[in-house]
């Protein structure tokens, strides 16, 4: 499982806030890497690109999936590659435009990182 440094920073911020659920979040990332089509919902706006969004709860901190985080990732089918794009707390992005803007920004960071590698 390869995580970009942009995604890792986002992940660290969240797991620092909800440390008791760090293991379950890491287990979820592993599950997604192995079976990316089995989790979450497919975003409708990306045409043929397979982009999925998973709701992440923090049960040890009594945060439901709905009120927890959103994890966005892109899947290439053949050969199967998963790119984790962003993970953020829904409570910080209640406004749809801010949420879109945040995910777009993370896409830009990942693209820049991919190009520099």
């Amino acid at each position: 499982m390869h995580l970009s440094s942009s995604f890792r920073r986002q992940l660290d911020k969240i797991t620092k806030k909800y440390p008791k659920d760090k293991e379950s979040v890491n287990a979820l990332l592993k599950d997604i890497s192995n079976l990316p089509f089995s989790k979450g919902d497919r975003e409708r706006g990306f045409r043929e690109h397979h982009v999925r969004k998973v709701r992440v709860g923090f049960p040890q901190h009594k945060i439901s999936k709905r009120d927890g985080a959103r994890l966005c990732y892109f899947v290439q089918r053949d050969p199967q590659v998963v790119v984790f794009v962003s993970i953020y707390l829904k409570s910080e992005y209640k406004d749809e435009k801010k949420e879109q803007s945040y995910v777009r920004q993370k896409m830009i960071e990942i693209i820049k990182e991919s190009k520099s590698n």
Binding site: R44, G45, R47, R70, F74, E96, E99, Q100, R104
Partner: protein
């Protein structure tokens, strides 16, 4: 094209359009009469409609998901793709309408039990709307094209 797309998709969409416009006119009656106790049956009737169109939207949404991987030039995609922005607008408008109605009802002292039923329906709309967030977002689409290209290049 499959049978569902051919025979049921457009009738479903037509029902959603029609019930959605009825909701708009009925909620305005509720707003005007919010302080009268007789408004309750109207609220319930509108709530039934919100639930009904949600069930129809979910069926249309399932068709959309099924055809997302079809090529851009395929006949089914030419049918399905143009409807996606309209469906997003209907989901978004329904959620906003319901949200503002709930806020008004709370101020007017409508039974919390009735409001809790409406809030459950509203959360279903909001959840579905999350899947449509990037519909019409051309910038995000261009970025995703670029990301997909980079991923496929790195595999070669």
């Amino acid at each position: 094209m499959d049978t569902l797309l051919d025979e049921e998709y457009f009738p479903l969409l037509e029902k959603v359009r029609s019930v959605s416009s009825k909701i708009a006119s009925q909620t305005s009656v509720i707003r005007e009469n919010i302080s009268r106790w007789r408004v309750i049956p109207r609220i319930i009737a509108v709530e039934v409609k919100f639930n009904y169109i949600y069930s129809q939207i979910v069926q249309i949404d399932a068709v959309i998901e099924k055809h997302m991987d079809c090529s851009k030039e395929s006949p089914c995609n030419k049918v399905v793709n143009p409807v996606i922005p309209e469906l997003k607008d209907i989901i978004s408008a329904s959620a906003k309408e319901q949200q503002s109605l709930i806020e008004l009802e709370k101020k007017a002292g409508i039974s919390s039990y009735i409001i809790s039923i409406q809030e459950k329906t509203l959360s279903k709309y909001e959840d579905l709307l999350e899947n449509y967030m990037f519909v019409g977002d051309s910038e995000a689409n261009e970025l995703m094209d670029e990301l997909a290209e980079l991923v496929s290049q790195s595999d070669r």
